[in-house]
């Protein structure tokens, strides 16, 4: 299989050993952010030079995106994409360590208020997020400040762990409690479905990404036009939404300035208009409606922040 057509789960985790990650962590925690950003830019440059499969997959996405904007892909755009991703990883480490606060968000006057009101009433929700921006920022909903809820609740992310085992081992060391609240997407079964339903009924939140097909779901995808071509979206995430039958919100937290991790985040929260109070026969169509709503929003926001979509694999079937 050529590297261009590789799916992300067939791509090996880059970076040799846990030791590398530890070193990265030490640097991140002990040097001023400005220096960290500079080092990251230099390291990324050499990584980018050597990683031609990454460049190809990145440009498969960026070329489409800039074509929709009616422009050519800028010089070094794939480098910017890689750098933006590396910065988001650093931010993730800092966030898990508790070194940066996750409450530097700018609200957009959208459905965030509805979500907060709902959570304050003690009702849970199902969030569909994405690899655009930083999903960790969703945790900022769970506390702090005046824009957030007054009631304590928990967020349970459903994550596909395959492919990032070393990075995850590090995250676990940093914050075992947080890691224990993460559900493995590859182990969703009857027990976890029931458990998720109970958590939502109890007023908590379950979150899943809607823009990555999983390693064991090949063939269970929904096709949708994204950036001008038909792309695959995971049926599982949207079907789960239909089964849990809770209010659904699309959530995105996007760095305001692509290459500065000190800037606040734009928090976008949009309530889905599709709901699943329908018969099972109508459901398949409704799931497709839900995917359509989600993809339109994803496209709109990724056009604004092209470098923050962290999907380094070929999303489209045709290259």
């Amino acid at each position: 299989m050529s590297s261009e057509s590789q799916q992300w789960f067939e791509v090996k985790e880059v970076g040799g050993s846990l030791w590398h990650f530890r070193f990265m962590l030490w640097i991140t925690c002990h040097l001023p952010l400005r220096v960290v950003e500079f080092c990251t830019a230099v390291i990324c440059f050499f990584f980018w030079l050597g990683a031609s499969p990454v460049r190809k997959r990145s440009s498969a996405y960026l070329k489409r995106l800039f074509a929709v904007r009616g422009k050519r892909m800028p010089f070094m755009a794939t480098y910017k994409h890689v750098l933006s991703f590396a910065l988001s990883m650093i931010e993730k480490l800092l966030g898990w360590r508790g070194a940066i606060k996750l409450n530097r968000v700018e609200t957009q006057g959208d459905d965030l208020d509805k979500l907060v009101e709902q959570l304050d009433r003690g009702e849970g929700a199902f969030l569909i997020c994405s690899h655009l921006g930083n999903m960790e920022m969703l945790r900022s909903l769970t506390g702090y400040g005046e824009i957030h809820t007054h009631r304590q609740f928990k967020v349970f992310p459903v994550v596909d762990f395959s492919g990032t085992s070393k990075f995850n081992a590090l995250l676990y060391e940093l914050n075992p409690d947080l890691m224990n609240s993460v559900l493995d997407a590859n182990k969703i079964g009857v027990d976890s479905a029931v458990w998720m339903k109970e958590q939502i009924v109890a007023g908590n939140v379950v979150a899943i990404a809607g823009d990555r097909t999983s390693a064991n779901s090949q063939g269970r995808n929904i096709e949708m036009d994204f950036l001008g071509d038909s792309a695959n979206f995971p049926e599982g995430a949207f079907t789960l939404a239909s089964i849990l039958n809770a209010p659904i919100y699309f959530t995105f937290a996007i760095r305001k300035h692509d290459f500065d991790i000190r800037t606040p985040y734009e928090m976008h929260v949009v309530k889905a208009t599709t709901s699943f109070d329908c018969s099972r026969r109508e459901r398949t169509g409704k799931i497709k409606d839900l995917v359509r709503e989600y993809v339109q929003l994803l496209e709109k926001l990724s056009l604004r922040h092209p470098y923050q979509w962290y999907n380094f694999y070929n999303f489209w079937k045709k290259t």
Partner: protein, 89 residues
Amino acid sequence: MDELKNRIKEMIVTALELEDVTAADIVEDAPLFGESERGLGLDSIDALELGIAIKENFGVSFSAANEDTKKHFYSFDTLAAYISANMPK
């Protein structure tokens, strides 16, 4: 037990909105999943939904061990036995 079995059958028909199958049609020892002449031919999504319906109707949950759950979901008989053994008294 018979009364419980009937309740479970009704729940299956209602939860999965089965159309050409009534509670009386469910063959008790046939496999629930996959292609089988006498079975219901359910899939994994149906299983998740049945799981939620069982929790809501009978207060019974399933363990995280996937293999065990598969055994309980093998046929109507195994499912009914599991529910009756684990129902809160």
